[in-house]
Symmetry: C2
Subunit: 514 residues, 2 copies
């Protein structure tokens, strides 16, 4: 059927969508969500139909994604025909019914995801079915491989390729800024890609961006790594496992994360990693609550690593409070820089050197942790970080105080004395976000006290930093409402932990930061 | 945050969507799928954020649904703030986790559905979770009630209110055109609302539309029913249980139907029905395959009826082949009109009088089926149908041959002789749709032979009707490919029914027609 194209001068967030009115759709025999094949000159593409009332008859509305694919500059005639549903959709339906998918079926789904032949509705149903029915390791392997194969991959001249990754969930987790230079300073290659915050106050890319550019091309990354052995860059624009980025968009509003394993490991594989430590922060207020859960997940990561040809070890780390004191991109970068310069909190140093030490031992170096500590204390790690900063385009002489933080500041104090019994990770993160993080890089929280420490009446629990007064006030209000720190004289004097029926639901913390 | 509104001059299929660019969204602290509250003068509304690359900074793009709610005619400044996620979403998430939902939680979900506060992604995840985890009868009851309460309801001066409904799945099921006049001719009220085809070749509304208008307002329906005791109208624009219409949009691409019970029963309740027969076509190639399944579903309908104050009985009917011979709106209307005039196929008469008879007995009339047959034979039912046609705005003297059918026609013949052993409902439906049904009302299929009948080599299995040659040819090709009728000399001469591993998957038939 010949229709006039109307170019909508609007993007659809990557989706392949064509607009039809009811009448024209009816004549074509298609409904909303059906597919049409659109042909213009020698180009053709598949689009998902959306029905819009009041749209003119005999027109097809094309979002920019479609007109670009068709190479169309102005509204001309196109041929529009009903198209079959993509084959991947029948496998999505099989998963909804609870069937196990085979490798080639998963490949078809991932291919259809990449080509945007599946709608948000269908993707949402797929990830929901994966979440409810579960995925077995054969499926996880096939998903990981298909996600790698449908994206960019990077190869480096030198091997092995070391890497680390956290499954996320702990505010203030800035260890990568220490681990990468420690490893690189010892002569090993560690091309770290990282993400920006989605649901958390800061991703590693957000933190490092206050030190130097992170938005590098693959070519630039290879140059930086050739020069320095390491990098800490934003992975989001590199098209590594791009199917995963599409899945994450759909998972975000649902707050489910069934693709944790393939999501992380496909990106490591795409970067050519051979030795990887996966950090699994564990405890109340972390994604993973118990040691048992952590071990089960760890064995899945190790198994998946074997299937992908990656040597994986997992670090189960203490996840019941933020790491260090600083939360928010600039505040965290300051703290990381101070720490690599010899100051900084013990837990951050301890965690960074432990994980770096594991990586060293994986490539055959004995006493890895001591080696990592030595590189930190000798100043070699600091020099390496400055090399990397310079290679990525930043100023190598940067001092912690050069990093701009929000100039609006407030103290959150306690009305009673006591000892810190609980710190709610999620509440701290929400306060930092309310203050403007991660978009306003100077916003965030500085804890003045951590678990087990004593505070007097009127003492400062934490400081809130913001770039704007309205955000500061909103963050203070939220802090007073959420009360992220819970005090007690001594644990044994506060035996009643909760009262029922005042239903307190202990949700798994949901962050898409991995 | 003050933003300039850009009115998009485009509808979003009822959805509440606002467009932002990445930067502006970042400053607001929102991501794609988050909500914003948009305020213009004294009006405010919630919209779901879509991020569009290249969209100008400091603008918000508003689809017509939003600008209409805000009463905005030209692009002016609006106040945009991040908004909390709707409360219904947390209950959707509870359902994804497998929790049972309470009445007030379901009410909140349905309210958010109606107000378009839930995205397609979230709705898809919800119906998927309902499909996988199942719904218990308390949830079904709460869903039904909430869907009734959030829509229009109709009351008639006279009671009781009789009705019938089929769960669908059988091509050619035109019994309503007979049952409504039979019941109304006996003086009972039967205000039948019906749907248009979504996945089938004809809905009752499509069939009746070839006899008279079906797109009546509630006021007009009440007048028709006052005059004639019955009506057969399209229910789609009456806003009866509108939440259901939104769910159906999402279920359609997924081909799942977890809301069958509340979907049907909420619409009956909204029309004030007191006595309802639910038709459950059963057998190979129907939605329900076995007697056992049919009984389980029947008891759910009866139970739900009790909870809603509706007296329900179920008819388990033979569903292994199309009803009558005609499939397609105009062809079916012709057949129904012929049948009420005294001719027509036995199975159609038998099914119509059986269900009408059940309704009679439910209101206390003995020998209901005989009564129904009498009304048919005496011509009273025909006169009543013509009264209804006239009251709805059609010509009361219409004859079967006045109903226009497609003038392109082809015979599908058999290359061997034999007896019809199987008729594939779904394949027959697909051929009729390929020929142009339901949009092209004259398109469809006339079976020339049915189950158990004998045919000679070269004999005609069925005829295909179309309004356009291209559609006719496409339908012929599909018919040759699908071969919807399967012949055998005698069943006992063909004992091998299937061969494995040539995987034949017996799918449940999926049609959204109910």
């Amino acid at each position: 059927m010949k229709l006039k194209a109307r170019l909508l001068d609007l993007q659809a967030g990557g989706r392949s969508i064509a607009i039809l009115d009811d009448e024209t759709a009816g004549l074509l025999g298609v409904h909303s969500s059906d597919r049409v094949r659109i042909t213009y000159k020698k180009n053709e593409t598949i689009a998902i139909v959306n029905i819009a009332g009041n749209f003119p008859r005999n027109y097809v509305g094309l979002y920019e994604e479609i007109s670009r694919k068709l190479g169309m500059k102005t509204g001309e005639d196109v041929e529009v025909q009903p198209a079959e549903r993509p084959e991947g959709l029948s496998h999505v339906q099989a998963k909804i019914r609870g069937e196990r998918l085979r490798e080639n079926e998963i490949e078809m789904i991932v291919q259809d995801v990449i080509e945007r032949h599946l709608s948000d509705t269908e993707l949402a149903s797929f990830v929901t079915a994966l979440y409810i029915h579960g995925i077995n390791m054969d499926e996880v392997e096939a998903l990981s491989k298909a996600m790698v194969e449908t994206g960019s991959t990077v190869t480096f001249d030198k091997g092995p390729i070391l890497d680390k990754h956290s499954i996320g969930g702990i505010p203030g987790d800035k260890v990568s800024i220490l681990i990468v230079p420690i490893i690189a300073a010892a002569g090993w290659v560690i091309p770290k890609t990282s993400s920006r915050a989605v649901t958390s106050p800061a991703g590693t890319a957000d933190r490092v961006e206050t030190l130097c550019p992170v938005n590098l091309t693959i070519k630039e990354i290879k140059e930086v790594v050739k020069k320095t052995n390491g990098c800490i860059v934003w992975g989001g624009a590199l098209e590594l496992a791009p199917a995963d980025d599409i899945f994450i968009q759909v998972e975000y509003p649902l707050a489910i994360d069934p693709l944790l394993l393939p999501s992380i490991m496909s990106k490591k594989k795409a970067m050519g990693a051979t030795h990887v430590v996966i950090d699994i922060p564990t405890g109340r207020g972390a994604k993973i609550k118990t040691n048992g859960e952590a071990h089960a997940l760890a064995y899945d990561f190790i198994d998946l690593g074997k299937r992908l040809g990656i040597n994986v070890q997992c670090a189960v780390t203490f996840g019941e409070q933020p790491l260090g004191y600083a939360i928010g991109p600039a505040l965290e970068a300051r703290e990381a820089l101070s720490t690599i310069m010899g100051k900084g909190p013990v837990d951050l140093r301890e965690k960074a050197t432990s994980i770096a030490g594991m990586l060293f031992e994986m490539v055959g170096i004995e006493n890895g942790k001591q080696k990592a500590e030595g590189l930190l204390e000798s100043g070699k790690a600091e020099r390496k970080l400055r090399e990397i900063i310079e290679a990525q385009g930043g100023g190598p002489t940067i001092k912690p105080e050069d990093i701009a933080v929000g100039d609006k500041k407030a103290d959150i104090t306690t009305e009673k004395e006591g000892r810190v019994l609980w710190i709610n990770n999620k509440s701290i993160a929400r306060v930092a976000r309310e203050a403007g993080a991660p978009k306003e890089k100077g916003a965030g929280v500085i804890l003045k006290i951590k678990l087990g420490e004593h505070i007097d009446k009127g003492g400062v629990l934490f400081e809130v930093y913001a770039e704007r007064n309205t955000k500061l006030e909103a963050a203070i209000d939220l802090a007073n409402k959420l009360q992220p720190l819970r005090l007690s004289k001594k644990p044994e004097e506060r035996m009643l932990m909760d009262q029922i029926p005042t239903r307190t639901i202990y949700k798994k913390i949901f962050t898409l930061e991995r």
